[in-house]
Amino acid sequence: MSSVATSEGAAVGGVPDAPVVMPRGRRRTEALMLVFSVGIVAFAYANVGFGLKGAPPAGMAGYMIAFTVLLVIAHLVVRWLAPWSDPLLLPLAATLNGLGIVMTYRLQEVGRDGNPGAMSVPLSTSATLIQIVYTAIGIGCFVAVLVLVREPRVLQRYTYLFGLIGLVLLALPALLPSSISEVPGTGAKIQISLGGFTVQPEEFAKLALAVAFAGYLVAKRDVLSLAGRRLVGIDLPRARDLGPVLIVWAVSLLLLVFESDIGTSAVFMGLFVCMLYIATQRTSWLLIGFALFVVGAYTASKLFSHVGERFDIWLHPFSGLNPSHNAFQLVQGLYGLGAGGILGKGLGAGQPYLTPLVQSDLVTTAFGEELGMTGLMAILLLYGLIVQRGLATSIAVKDPFSKVLVGGLSFMLALQVFVIVGGVTRLIPLTGITTPFLSQGGSSLVGSWMLIALLMRISDTARRPPPQPIQDEGMTQVVNLS
């Protein structure tokens, strides 16, 4: 690992004689940015009320106070437990989370109280409250991660335990009967639904597996970096080292087949291949991983109709019966985006309810419709900034495990946004995965907050100044040892 010259790194590896520039925690910046994000969310919330009724929404004060209190708690915990962490991550996540709550409220009000429209699956009257409770749980888990993981390297000790937890969580829905694990109407077996309470274990499996991958790869990276044969200028890995890649590939394919969950399968494969690449710096691993995924997905699309259908919808959404049948959801989402245009209809003034299940996978189209291209681009840039802060942390941090982990997590977030936003905007085939922070629902939100906690924990390590050597210790004292 070479030493890195980032703004933080300059202080760390500075010339000993130069005046030491103390890196700053920038917690005040964070506090200020949090005020800003509460402002944006409050404005958006009021906007929904004005868009629907011409008056601020009922119960707005209560929700906003709860939201603010949660952020104050998160901020105080960060001051206490991760004072050197990146100051932008918390406000960025808070803004997205807040906008998600606002959209949940907006969709909850559809068809109620004289508001226009009807949702394909109506939200309960307490959906906003529940979303705030999930936010509280999310921030609770955020705090828990910061409390339990004081030092990221600790996680490395439990590499295999996390791997096991991750696999169990992933496999669980596939093994459970459909009545418990199937998302109604989609055929995707990705959740555990008991007594009205639903958890999507994959949201947590992702984090567990990321930790496991990082631990494994850092331990084995010397072996995995060994070159085997050379083929057209690329060093291929040794055949015997292909094992782990093949295992992850097999798991992702199983996900694809048994849980009908192409999006998650792509995200897992992408996460692993990316971490493998970061750990080994071998381009060949990237190519092998990518080729394996493409071959797997192509074969699956030929063998399983539900996978093939996704491609057909992607390529020909407007032809034949597609617009009103298979592609209805995608097409309605696209119509929503088109209707939003450049400046959007305004929160509460669009018709996002025409898109089936707009509250979950297609929530981006609701934002695109009501906030327009401008708002949607701003939201994408919020994600982009989180990912950028994560990758910057990854470059800054010295410990290889943390490097691989935070690099992988950042890439996973980017990939997730790419898969779902790219899916609903028809850049790539639409596969149902949640939009981090924005989709209605708890597991994804809690998982996303845990991810932010890990990024902040590692950025705290990366930006923390080394213990200052005592410069001025006076004259060397002669100690008489007689």
Partner: protein, 493 residues
């Protein structure tokens, strides 16, 4: 590892650039094409999200307006005048529109390119979008007079009144009509039911008889026949023509007679002046004139009066095809004779009837009929103002003067077919021509009553065409309606 991380960062940057570019493409460039895709109910509902412009008459009577009702469709269309104006306004329903509602839709919705700059300003200043107001040329008093007269006659028919100097349509009424409010309902099921009822109604209330139905013109066509003859420059209203009581048509077993076998004029030699033949509407005289000038000349003149053609301005304003008034070239002399008195294959719209009189009233120049006077944006600035255009000049002012004399005589002469209206409007001289058109196979149907006329008072003048299906005599069934319309307009001048 940092080298790999930097590459990953570049890949991530690339992914986000792709997403941003695609969002730009969809929402900025593709938005219009998405809006026009089939089944895009958002684009459809969007029309009901803000206030559609009003339609009003020249004198400010509101014919159509949008009322806030809330719900998915925030505004509902209302037609305060109901059936009376349905042939003009048409309807704006969930499934489609007709009439002015359809033809002037881009103004009423506010999407016309002429409104684009104002829309951008409104968007920036946050003013709610509102469509432009379309002001018609219709005079509400004339329209109401036409409607009431048609309604009290109880027979299917239509009235069109024109301003001869401009071509502005002052009244356009068709009976039976329908209440467009029935089609402005915001429930799809209710709309389907109402629409079905109207479509299956045997009285055809959706048919705009003023422009979409054609009838034989009968003797009113003698205006065209006279025009053809006078245009040749050799004869005038005082020239003598052969007007026997019975005329055996060449190569035919049919003999043509005058109405009720009357003798034409009082010269007693089987001849009559053209003005007499016109005043008394002698068929044999005009059959002879027709055979004299020939079918080609009649057709050419008929076409200069607007027959055999549709009306482009009205087609666009009403989003429909105005029916062509028909005058084909007749191969046989006997047919030419019949066509010269408005029988055989001749058919006209009530609009065409008004155009006959309007041409004469305007000294031989036919003005292009139009219905939209002005379009006013929501900020009250004008975006469109009609400019009258000449369509053709069928006859010289001289010939028009001759024919005017004859038409005046129809009403003023004691022998005139419409003599009973000589003093119908105090101080106003009406010039007119009656028509009683035989109808159906072997003329078994009831006669259609036709009347075309014009009059002026002060600086107001008006030409009216009336056709009453199965009305009988033109003077009895059609002329009283036309006179009512003239009266309403000229007396209120």
């Amino acid at each position: 590892m940092n080298r790999a991380l930097r590459r990953v960062s570049i890949a991530v940057l690339f992914m986000f650039v792709l997403l941003l570019a695609n969002v730009n493409y969809l929402q900025a460039f593709e938005a219009d094409s998405l809006a026009s895709k089939p089944g895009n109910s958002r684009a459809f509902d969007a029309q009901y999200q803000y206030q559609r412009g009003e339609i009003e008459t020249a004198d400010g009577t509101v014919l159509a307006r949008s009322k806030y009702v809330g719900g998915t469709y925030k505004y509902q269309r209302q037609y305060p005048q109901g059936a009376e104006y349905a042939p003009v306004t048409g309807y704006d329903s969930l499934y489609g529109a007709s009439g002015i509602e359809s033809g002037e839709n881009s103004y009423l919705v506010g999407n016309s390119s002429k409104l684009a700059v104002r829309n951008v300003i409104d968007m920036i200043t946050g003013k709610p979008k509102k469509g432009a107001t379309v002001q018609l040329t219709i005079d509400s008093k004339a329209q109401t007079a036409a409607w009431n007269a048609l309604k009290s006659s109880g027979k299917a028919g239509a009235v069109v009144a024109l301003n001869p100097q401009t071509g502005a349509i002052l009244a356009m009424s068709s009976y039976p009509s329908y209440d467009p409010n029935q089609l402005a309902v915001l429930s799809g099921d209710q709309l389907n039911t109402n629409d079905k009822n109207l479509l299956h109604d045997p009285s055809q209330p959706l048919l705009n008889r003023a422009i979409s139905a054609t009838y034989p013109p009968g003797s009113t066509f003698k205006i065209v026949t006279s025009s053809t003859l006078f245009a040749q420059g050799k004869e005038n209203q005082n020239s003598l023509v052969s007007a026997p009581t019975s005329l055996k048509l060449p190569q035919s077993s049919v003999s043509l007679i005058n109405n009720d076998g009357e003798v034409c004029g009082n010269l007693g030699n089987g001849k009559a002046t053209i003005i007499t033949a016109f005043t008394e509407s002698c068929n044999t005289a005009f059959a002879n004139i027709g055979m004299q000038v020939g079918s080609a000349a009649l057709k050419s003149m008929a076409e200069r009066y607007g027959m055999n053609a549709t009306s482009p301005t009205l087609n666009q304003e009403l989003s429909t095809q105005v029916a062509k008034s028909n005058f084909p070239l007749e191969p046989a002399q006997s047919f030419t004779a019949m066509s010269a008195i408005g029988q055989k294959d001749d058919t006209v719209t009530p609009l065409q009837e008004a155009m006959f009189a309007a041409t004469i009233a305007n000294n031989g120049t036919l003005m292009r009929p139009y219905l939209v006077q002005q379009v006013q944006a929501a900020d009250l600035s004008d975006v469109y103002t009609a400019s009258p255009q000449a369509q053709s000049t069928p006859v010289s002012a001289n010939v028009a003067g001759e024919i005017k004399q004859m038409m005046l005589s129809v009403v003023s002469s004691p022998d005139g077919t419409a003599h009973q209206f000589a003093n119908a409007i105090p101080g106003v001289q009406i010039a007119g021509k009656t028509g009683t058109a035989q109808n159906g196979i072997n003329n078994s149907g009831l006669n259609d009553a036709v009347f075309t006329c014009f009059a002026s008072s002060g600086n107001r003048s008006m030409a009216v065409g009336v056709i009453i299906q199965g009305g009988g005599y033109g003077a009895a069934a059609a002329a009283p309606i036309a006179v009512d319309v003239l009266k309403s307009y000229l007396e209120n001048g």
